[in-house]
Assembly symmetry: C2
Homo-oligomer: 273 residues x 2
């Protein structure tokens, strides 16, 4: 059965984040999806990456390297039960929704812990399988979050700077790194400072978007094959691709700007074709 996973991080059942989550559960269930929720605070999800994440002996107890050890443990079926349970949910899902309030331009620590611990090397990526060749290239992911700031504060000329820049580590560096097709983020601007009627409109718009979500095109990222994928080549853009890009006034993505103008709204809007 087609499954959606909602990784959810809010402490309160009465929160707007909870209401957003519930709209998704209802709408996607009505579409016939099985919706699974990881309610991180309710689960008291462990955020810290420690030795306890590995069952049995460490390969190198004198120099514990979390990434190395968990890669081996994944290979040998020795990751802790809570990680294995989350990995199973990811495996079954064709869409993962991350639902959270923005904390310090990023996800709350409990959700960062989910990313640090669940997206194990081997399970979620390898040097051969990353970005558009990534392990999860047939899955979609979306950040759905609330902000304290207003929309104008996160413009390129707003006090906090461009939201597209802020989203890069999460959307490119984490989700797309693992291969996910990243859908445009669903941003609920400053719901705490809105009138309740405006919050209801926000929920209605989210519900409307969910009706077509699975058919949406994903955001644009650089393609792996454009880079020289070896340490000798430095994982740098190939000269022939650089040349092809020469006539473009804009860079490829927010992060792959090539010293040119940032493609506008690269991390928040689907590129027109």
């Amino acid at each position: 059965m087609a499954t959606v996973l909602i990784v959810y991080a809010h402490q309160s059942t009465g929160s707007f984040n909870a209401a957003v989550r519930d709209v998704a559960i209802k709408e996607l269930s009505e579409q016939g999806y099985r919706v699974v929720v990881s309610d991180l605070y309710a689960m008291n999800f462990k955020a810290n990456a420690t030795k306890d994440d590995i069952i049995g002996d460490l390969k190198n107890p004198d120099l514990f390297q979390y990434g190395e050890e968990t890669m081996h443990a994944w290979n040998e079926g020795r990751l802790s039960d809570d990680i294995v349970a989350e990995q199973r949910k990811v495996k079954e899902a064709e869409l993962v929704i991350f639902q959270f309030p923005l904390y310090w331009f990023s996800v709350p620590a409990i959700m960062k812990g989910w990313m640090d611990r669940v997206l194990t090397q081997g399970f979620a990526f390898s040097l051969k399988n990353m970005y558009d060749n990534g392990v999860f290239k047939n899955k979609k992911a979306i950040l759905s979050f609330t902000t304290g700031a207003t929309e104008s504060m996160f413009r390129p000329n707003g006090i906090n700077g461009d939201i597209n820049v802020a989203l890069w580590p999460l959307q490119n560096g984490t989700l797309h790194f693992c291969g996910f097709q990243v859908l445009a983020p669903q941003i609920f601007w400053s719901p705490a400072h809105c009138r309740s009627v405006d919050r209801i409109v926000m929920l209605e718009q989210w519900c409307a978007r969910l009706q077509g979500l699975m058919a949406e095109k994903a955001l644009t990222f650089a393609r792996c094959e454009w880079f020289g994928l070896s340490f000798e080549q430095g994982f740098l853009l190939r000269p022939e691709v650089k040349e092809e890009q020469e006539s473009n006034a804009y860079g490829i993505t927010t992060g792959h700007h090539l010293g040119k103008l940032l493609p506008p709204d690269n991390q928040t809007k689907v590129q027109a074709t």
Copy 2:
């Protein structure tokens, strides 16, 4: 006594991160500083932002809003002991060094938890006191971190995109938001894949930098007074400042790019004057 706080997040005493930390402790102690270390894994530091961070009754138990409740609790001296202890260390420090391995283009969850929980509204920022008017404007902060990736992978034409973009949420969105003067990051590129002799050179370079660290100029960020600091004005760049910037081919910072070219290395190198 002049104090430096090192917020440290690595699980292993034998790690390169530990060696980097120890170089800082030794060198700064020799300079006469009192060096305080928060060894987050050793402390089993709680990363998750929960009700337990507040002593006594909640203002709104039906709708728990972490930011609001901790702001009140800070005001009334009702934050949990572990948070209060960290806040005291920050208050006493003139420099905070964040020492960590890069996890998913960002800090490990345990360190994100430190940021989420310790940098409480009121203690670390307010709508009136942020960025260069921030609470910690007389303090310095620096990110010192190791990567798995090589340096070329994090160039604007490298597979991971520009490191300056990746650092924006941490350096502007967190540290400078609270007022910290942010020193250029100390990046140890891929030490696990270096020869041991190269790692020794890295440590020597870090030691040499520490000798002049306190005299370094900070990175360049946009100034608060350049923005219309009210909801009516949208916290947007003032028209007269936009005009002043018109002749500049580059934006102000990585995030405040104003639709122009990114100022090169804005988040990694001190701007030439």
